[in-house]
């Protein structure tokens, strides 16, 4: 992770790796000397490859995120197709050229079922079948189970082909082997809001495929306007960290496609991670409503096949995040050293002025003056001693700097978040809010929040959707700042929201040049950072406030509709009770004349229960009418707000591009 940014150029490092192969094989090399693939193998869980199920999930998401980045980098609306195909064991064996062997010595296997155990299981299943027999639908399933094998053995690995096709930038023909075959090949200089968790992209997935199946990966790619498609089949020489190319050729590009298609075959587990993968796709669709995803799961069993299409809802894309320089309060000694090495600036003044944000010329001069007598503006920056760098670092810690601006960030945008929520959840109500840029430890961050009420496929209570740098976070939800805030620090009832019964969607997206993840898996943001938690809280509250007025209006309207019904419901009870008493009365004892008359009328049946019912019902209607009138005069005549609609562009017609902009629309000529 950090080892990647530690400043060695890849060539240098590779040389060192090569020279260290022998010592690494002896096993006791230091972490720094360890070759990347071995580091990965030992730290699979950090990268999200804890178990086959999670590996399938992580592989898919790494590929999808790469695809998104690639399309966004050339400002093309992403069109991404993901296919996960289940591969049976015999098919896998034939792929690797292994002959299927029947089991000869059954007792040798872990899942061997002794005669006694089998008897027990069959008896149990028969009993269950008897019970289920009354429910005709389930019988078939049970029978299927009976014919299947017993308990699943530990050695039964499942294999999957994961294919991800995008319409992004693509890769140059000759670069492909090195882009995939060399792990930790890129170094990042500068600071930027990035999607991936470790910047390793798909490479982890490639190592996983190498580790679990040993099958090569296949890459097809074409640059924009390129007449051919590059095809490459390769795998990684893990120990030497170089690509091992099986096939590398140019093929015909018939439909002017550009982008990349990557195919890996890995061990995985669809059953356990099915819902996680689908959730991920859905949440990704929420945060990127400008892209189109087609997700397919292909299995040998027809019923298990799934195809989900997440349609595009807008063509407004967030800007590509700009690269920015470091903020002086966010650098450490190592980073300063690294910046000194890489800097093209000669003297200290220029160095301070150009390698950091928020240091102007006069400010830099004052800083140098403060550093002490051994520093001067003209001193060569490469000649700084270690002690001097420590001094600079100390000053950076103590001095006051303006906060970094959020210009370098690329939030999803309130508009997009809103569209995404509407598109995927179809809620009854939605409110969104975007915070102003804030700062934590020298890194700017923006929090965007959305709250939805109701919708389809939303369970009762709080449904929390977390996004960090525009990718969904699915794991380790419990300790996350968003979960904690929504559960503990928001008093939902004060916004007329029922935390237990309403279907509440809480969407919080945080973007930053550095997301302060907690835990090994980089799956959640700690709750202890008050800067972030207070912004999250206020963003959610702002959304709730917007919703509250809507909810109150809705409640009022509902109350108005139900008032008459609710009041009328009690008319019979009240009338009956009154008449019960009145029937018992005898005239002539009352002081008031009207009372006597009333009692006589009751006795003579001029006034009956029906009379009271009628009068009370009339009264209720009168009251309802008056209240409705009052309500209408208070509110005025109001129309339902109009929702903007999005009509997606015709496929393939994008090439002709004369856009005529009007105040409310854009007009494009289609040939």
């Amino acid at each position: 992770m950090d080892s990647e940014g530690s400043g060695n150029s890849p060539i240098e490092r590779n040389k060192r790796k090569k020279s260290n192969v022998k010592s690494a094989k002896k096993g006791k090399g230091s972490v720094l000397k360890q070759i990347p693939a071995e580091f990965f193998a030992e730290n699979k869980n950090i990268a999200g490859f804890d178990n086959p199920g999670k590996s399938l999930y992580t592989t898919m998401r790494e590929l999808v995120e790469n695809a998104l980045d690639s399309a966004e980098s050339i400002s093309v609306l992403p069109d991404i197709e993901i296919t996960i195909e289940e591969i049976s064991k015999s098919r896998y064996n034939s792929m690797i050229g292994l002959v299927d062997r029947e089991r000869v010595d059954e007792e040798l296997y872990d899942d061997f079922e002794s005669a006694k155990a089998r008897e027990k299981r069959l008896a149990k299943e028969a009993r269950a079948l008897e019970i289920e027999a009354k429910k005709p639908l389930l019988v078939k399933k049970m029978k299927d189970n009976l014919h299947g094998r017993g308990p699943k053995g530990r050695g039964d690995a499942s294999f999957y082909r994961v294919v991800c096709k995008d319409n992004g930038r693509g890769m140059a023909h000759d670069d492909i082997p090195n882009m995939f075959g060399v792990v930790l090949s890129g170094t990042k200089y500068g600071l930027k809001q990035t999607r991936g968790k470790f910047g390793l992209g798909a490479k982890m997935a490639l190592i996983w495929s190498k580790m679990s199946t040993g099958l090569p990966i296949e890459i097809s790619s074409s640059l924009r306007g390129q007449s051919y498609v590059s095809f490459c089949r390769l795998d990684i020489d893990i120990h030497r960290n170089i690509p091992h190319i099986h096939k590398h050729e140019k093929r015909e590009n018939k439909d002017q496609w550009h982008g990349a298609e990557i195919q890996v075959i890995i061990e995985g587990n669809w059953t356990t991670y099915r819902s996680k993968i689908l959730h991920y796709m859905r949440q990704l669709a929420v945060i990127t409503p400008y892209s189109q995803f087609i997700f397919r799961f292909v299995s040998e069993v027809q019923e298990k096949n799934i195809t989900v299409r997440f349609a595009r809802r807008t063509d407004v894309m967030p800007p590509v995040p700009a690269e920015t320089k470091h903020h002086p309060s966010a650098v450490d000694i190592l980073l300063i050293k690294h910046l000194v090495e890489e800097s093209s600036k000669q003297n200290l003044l220029q160095f301070l002025q150009h390698e950091f944000v928020n240091i102007g010329k006069t400010h830099a001069e004052r800083l140098i003056g403060e550093m002490g007598p051994d520093f001067s503006a003209k001193m060569p920056v490469k000649g700084l001693t270690s002690q001097q760098i420590v001094r600079i670092h100390q000053l950076f810690r103590q001095a006051k700097f303006d906060d970094p601006s959020g210009d370098c960030l690329s939030p999803a945008g309130e508009y997009n978040l809103r569209l995404g929520i509407i598109k995927e959840l179809h809620p009854d109500m939605v409110a969104t809010y975007a915070s102003s840029p804030q700062v934590f430890e020298g890194h700017p961050f923006i929090v965007e929040a959305g709250i939805s009420l109701g919708g389809k496929d939303v369970k009762q209570g709080l449904n929390i959707f977390r996004f960090a740098n525009r990718i969904p976070l699915l794991f380790e939800q419990g300790a996350d700042v968003v979960t904690r805030t929504a559960l503990k620090r928001i008093n939902w009832s004060s916004y007329k929201i029922n935390q237990m019964q309403d279907k509440i969607g809480v969407f919080v997206s945080i973007v930053s040049t550095k997301i302060p993840f907690k835990g090994t898996g980089k799956e959640y943001i700690g709750d202890d950072i008050s800067e972030i938690s207070s912004v999250v809280k206020s963003a959610i509250k702002q959304c709730c406030l917007q919703l509250k007025s809507k909810i109150v209006k809705k409640l009022e309207a509902r109350e108005r509709q139900e008032r008459k019904r609710n009041l009328t419901r009690y008319v019979p009870d009240a009338s009956r009770a009154l008449v019960e008493v009145l029937r018992e009365l005898k005239p002539g004892k009352r002081q008031r004349l009207e009372d006597d008359e009333l009692i006589r009328k009751v006795i003579s049946r001029d006034i009956t229960e029906a009379t009271f019912r009628e009068k009370l019902t009339q009264h209720v209607e009168q009251v309802d009418y008056e209240m409705a009138l009052e309500y209408a005069t208070q509110r005025g005549v109001r129309e339902e707000p109009r929702e903007p609609i999005y009509i997606s562009a015709l496929e393939g017609a994008r090439s002709s591009s004369i856009l005529l902009h009007g105040p409310v629309f854009a007009f494009r000529l289609i040939q």
């Binding site: 609710n566 009271f612 009264h619």
Partner: protein
């Protein structure tokens, strides 16, 4: 072990004796205290004094009424009324409602508010009373339509009861229209509203709660003509009738009334025939007292002019129960004049008794945070503040953070309560 060490360091709890001393005392102390007991005749003499004082004082110590205090306009109180009067009142409000409906105005009731904000403690009366704030309960409002309907339904039912002059329980009342009332708390709450609204006690509405209290001892009374001798009621005692109106002709040669918080202690006293050794009437409501028990106690106290001594747990809850007997509960504050029995003497078990009678450490319990909070709240209550002795006891309890139940005395033998503790207490006139 560590618990004990901590306590030893606590100056309030340690008293004069160290740990070893307590332990050796624990075996000898029952004997020690028993030796201090004088013959029963001397104890009886002290009780005679108490009795005589009560007999004479009660004639002079007349409790002022609200009218005498000039509070009748600002405070509300209910009184016992006969069924015919209740009937007339109900008929009047029903007729008013009927007229209002026929005129096309719907109908509404004016119901006195029973919320705590509408209650005050009157020190001259030594009880909580209800102020005169009331609210309009209208049929035409969504928020009150339900309660209004329940109110009119209950009025009809009570009218029927008063006409036929029969009694039913609150539960019976609820079952007459389960569909409308939905659950008993709703009909119970409106019932209290109705008795407030009509200005009569709940028993005048001919609605009673099921029986809970028990009495045993030197008391003879008639219940609907049946003569009942409470000395011949066995160990279980006589259930206090839900309708105290039916109780009459009380006779007693007892010297005092012993009010017991718990059933277990009551049973011990009854089985040991404590009332034969020291003539008394023993009453318990098994925890929080119900209306019937409070009415019964009040009736005994006023008719027989006997002093009342209370035996409750040494914890805030015991004191709370005592306060309900003496000052009334918040829920029934409109009827506090009929339900409260002021001037109950706190006999035991008082926090100071724990050390005085050397109740061993293992029988004392640490107070929970909730207990401490209740204790501190009680210190703020007016009825506690007016008695210096009570304040001192309560302060001691909060300070030592220890509580004990009546059963703690059983460490010295099951009969220690009846044979040593109570006689000694009475002999020493150790009540406040």
């Amino acid at each position: 072990m560590s618990e004990r060490k901590r306590r030893r360091g606590d100056p309030a709890a340690a008293g004069s004796s160290g740990k070893t001393k307590i332990r050796s005392d624990a075996s000898s102390s029952p004997l020690l205290f028993k030796n201090r007991l004088k013959p029963d005749s001397i104890i009886l003499a002290t009780l005679q004094q108490l009795h005589a004082a009560e007999q004479s004082s009660s004639s002079t110590g007349k409790v002022p009424t609200l009218a005498e205090l000039g509070l009748s306009s600002t405070c509300r109180e209910v009184s016992d009324r006969d069924p015919a009067a209740v009937r007339i009142t109900i008929e009047d409000s029903i007729l008013a409602a009927a007229r209002s409906i026929l005129e096309g105005r719907g109908f509404s009731f004016s119901v006195p508010s029973r919320s705590s904000s509408n209650q005050i403690y009157v020190p001259e009366l030594d009880r909580i009373v209800l102020r005169d704030k009331s609210s309009i309960r209208s049929f035409s409002s969504l928020s009150t339509v339900r309660k209004t309907t329940i109110t009119v339904r209950l009025l009809a039912l009570i009218h029927q009861l008063c006409t036929k002059n029969i009694h039913v329980t609150k539960r019976d009342l609820f079952y007459t229209d389960v569909k409308l009332f939905q659950d008993q708390t709703q009909s119970d709450a409106v019932l209290d509203d109705v008795s407030c609204m009509l200005g009569c006690t709940r028993s005048s509405l001919n609605v009673v709660a099921s029986e809970k209290g028990v009495v045993v001892g030197r008391l003879i009374f008639t219940e609907q003509g049946d003569r009942i001798d409470c000395t011949k009621m066995g160990v279980g005692g006589k259930a206090i009738p839900p309708n105290v109106d039916h109780v009459g002709n009380m006779e007693s040669d007892a010297l005092f009334i012993l009010l017991v918080e718990k059933d277990a202690a009551f049973m011990r006293l009854a089985e040991d025939r404590f009332y034969n050794r020291f003539p008394c009437i023993i009453v318990t409501a098994k925890g929080q007292p119900d209306v019937a028990t409070r009415l019964f106690l009040k009736k005994m106290k006023t008719e027989l002019r006997l002093p009342v001594l209370a035996l409750v747990d040494s914890d805030p809850y015991g004191l709370k129960i005592l306060s309900v007997y003496m000052c009334g509960s918040k829920n029934m504050s409109y009827d506090s004049s009929n339900l409260t029995t002021p001037d109950i003497k706190w006999l035991g078990i008082r926090p100071s008794d724990l050390d005085k009678y050397k109740i061993p450490e293992q029988c004392r319990l640490p107070m929970t945070d909730q207990d401490l909070k209740t204790g501190k709240d009680l210190l703020e209550e007016d009825f506690v503040k007016k008695s210096g002795g009570w304040v001192r006891e309560l302060e001691l309890m909060v300070q030592t953070k220890q509580k004990a139940e009546i059963q703690a005395l059983s460490t010295f033998g099951f009969q220690y309560l009846t044979e040593v503790y109570l006689p000694l207490k009475l002999q020493e006139k150790d009540w406040i």
